[in-house]
């Protein structure tokens, strides 16, 4: 500031000196009195002009100084403590400016904080969305989400499979358009839920899947935000298998109780007759005893079957494997089934014997497999029919294959793959013969789980069925241990 003032005074002195020099030069040039007055007048005017210029210069210099101070003040900030160097008028202005700047800074800071919060919330929200989507996409249940205008917001792959659409192509399309009119009942359920603002409702709905219908337990919930419906979520859980298992269990209890009660009925009736003396002679009594014995054995076999399935499934069964010839086992089982087949006038024949068909097996278990397949074939073949059992050896694959073919009632195509399921019975053949639905399951368990083989079946309704199994041939080392 001092430097500025010195500059101003030097400039003023230079200006006055210049003007005085100019006046003196004028006076020297004037010479006479009238010219002298005129020269004096011009001197006064020059002096006045010089003084005016000086004051103007001082004013400008002061203003420049103030502006420079203000700029310096603005650069150094309010904490620099140099406000006293500013002109009083500028101090007020500076104070107001400082206040405004402080307010602006505070607003900017708040805005930046909010922006940062918003960014964090946005990142969290995005992360949550991705987590939710990952969960929904990994679910086996179908999930569909629609917005408040019934437009599809999200559908996971199981939902896409049920309704047959590409989830990415149908996003934001109206629900009815995305999943088609064939599912009008489902669409109506979601729309009603939205309209009624239903918090949660559960229904059982049927949807076609391939060649059969699946049952889905469907939970539909309305999503509300600030009292407004923002969307509807539907979760569809496939309960088809659960229902089938439940039905199979019920059927099993029903079948097993019937199967258990039938031999028990004979045992009780015959023993009562014996106790009441209704068997007159020794021969009749012997016959009654024999019936009681055979029915007790039947009961025991049935219980053993149930327990065997349970033991194999739980891995608790004792297995005693040894090398054995399947042809010999088949011969033994054919002897056992022959009387039952003759009762029904059914011919049972075996293919030609095979030289080497040694397998490493539990003989009792594989005998059970053969007898189950043979008795099933006889059971479901009408009188006068034929049952053929054959053996093939595939040396290259190291397998021996046993087939039991019949000219029986056959199995409908849509049920043929399920006949090895536990407790499953072919509905159409229920009247043909009784059974627990355990025999073929036991065959599968023994062949596949205990012996590492494979079961198979082919069938044509009205023509007959071929059931069979494959087992690995015994190695030369195993066979040498016979």
């Amino acid at each position: 500031m001092r430097g500025q003032r010195s500059t101003i005074w030097i400039a003023t002195a230079v200006a006055i000196a210049s003007l005085m020099t100019a006046a003196v030069m004028e006076l020297q040039d004037a010479g006479g009195s009238s010219e002298w007055r005129a020269a004096l007048l011009r001197l006064v005017v020059y002096c006045a002009g010089a003084v005016g210029v000086i004051f103007l210069g001082v004013g400008y210099a002061r203003m420049a100084g103030a502006v420079t101070s203000m700029a310096a003040r603005l650069r150094s900030g309010p904490s620099s403590g140099c406000d006293h160097e500013l002109p009083p008028a500028f101090r007020g202005l500076m104070q107001t400016l400082d206040e405004r700047v402080a307010e602006g800074a505070e607003a900017t800071r708040r805005f930046q904080t909010e922006l940062k919060d918003l960014e964090i919330r946005s990142q969290l929200s995005e992360r949550e969305r991705r987590h939710t989507e990952a969960i929904l996409y990994s679910l086996r249940d179908a999930v569909i989400v629609i917005d408040g205008s019934d437009r599809l917001l999200m559908a996971n792959p199981p939902a896409a499979q049920i309704f047959g659409f590409d989830p990415e192509n149908v996003r934001h399309r109206p629900l009815a358009e995305a999943i088609g009119r064939t599912h009008a009942g489902f669409i109506e359920l979601l729309v009603q839920c939205r309209r009624n603002r239903t918090e949660a409702t559960k229904r059982e709905l049927e949807f076609p899947q391939g060649d059969r219908s699946h049952t889905y337990e469907t939970i539909v919930s309305c999503v509300q935000t600030d009292g407004k419906v923002s969307g509807v979520v539907a979760v569809l859980h496939d309960v088809t298998r659960e229902k089938e298992i439940s039905q199979m269990k019920n059927d099993f209890v029903s079948h097993v109780s019937h199967e258990l009660k039938t031999p028990l009925a004979s045992i009780m009736a015959y023993s009562e007759m014996l106790a009441d003396g209704e068997a007159d002679d020794e021969e009749t009594r012997k016959e009654f005893y024999s019936v009681i014995q055979s029915q007790a054995q039947r009961l025991s076999r049935l219980i053993e079957d149930i327990l065997n399935v349970s033991r194999i499934e739980s891995g608790l069964i004792k297995v005693h494997k040894e090398p054995a010839s399947l042809t010999i086992l088949i011969e033994d089982q054919m002897q056992m089934i022959r009387s039952y087949a003759e009762e029904k006038n059914i011919t049972v024949t075996a293919g030609r014997a095979i030289v080497y068909d040694q397998v490493q097996i539990d003989k009792d278990m594989i005998s059970q497999v053969i007898i189950n397949l043979l008795s099933n074939a006889v059971k479901y073949t009408p009188a006068g029919g034929r049952v053929t059992i054959g053996t093939e050896v595939n040396g290259a694959a190291g397998l021996v294959r046993v087939t039991v073919s019949d000219t029986g009632v056959g199995i409908p195509e849509n049920e043929v793959n399920r006949v090895f399921d536990k407790f499953y019975r072919v509905a159409a053949n229920n009247k043909q013969a009784k059974g627990t639905g355990l025999g073929l399951n036991l065959v599968k368990q023994i062949v596949e789980k205990v012996h590492g083989g494979r079961v198979f079946v082919t069938s044509t309704v009205g023509v007959g069925s071929t059931f069979g199994f494959e087992l690995p041939l015994a190695t030369a080392r195993q066979a040498a241990l016979v």
Binding site: H258, K261, T262, L264, A265, A269, E278, V291, Q295, K431
Partner: protein, 129 residues
């Protein structure tokens, strides 16, 4: 003249023991091993009473009774249902089907005989009135 009883069951041992019990007590017994055969005998042999199992090949006991109730020749013949599935047959079902009595397996031959005697007595009373 002895009363004629038709016994239908696919369990031959059951047919045998029931037949012995009834014959020992003066009844004439005819037998069938499936529902279709039983229906034929019921129509053509005119039994006084029918004893049938619930689960049989070709026609179940229930289907046999339905067919009999729809046929003038067998509409009023008393029927006793033997079943190992007694839980599946409610009293309402019995009334609707026209089952005269239902016995659960295992059953007592003495109880069956008594039931047959009671039903034939009732039938006789109805005929007399």
């Amino acid at each position: 003249m002895a009363n004629k009883v038709l016994v239908a069951d696919d369990e031959l041992h059951i047919i045998h023991v029931v037949a012995i019990k009834l014959r020992n007590n003066g009844y004439e017994v005819i037998t069938a091993s499936n529902g279709a055969e039983a229906y034929e005998l019921a129509c053509h042999e005119n039994p006084d009473i029918v004893v049938t199992d619930y689960q049989m090949p070709l026609l179940t006991g229930i289907e046999l009774i339905e067919k009999m109730r729809g046929d003038d020749r067998t509409r009023s013949t008393p029927v006793i249902l033997l079943t190992a599935r007694s839980f599946a047959i409610t009293e309402e079902m019995q009334q609707q089907l026209g089952v005269s009595a239902c016995l659960s397996k295992p059953f007592s031959p003495k109880e069956l005989l008594k039931t047959i005697q009671d039903l034939l007595y009732q039938k006789e009373l109805v005929a007399q009135s």
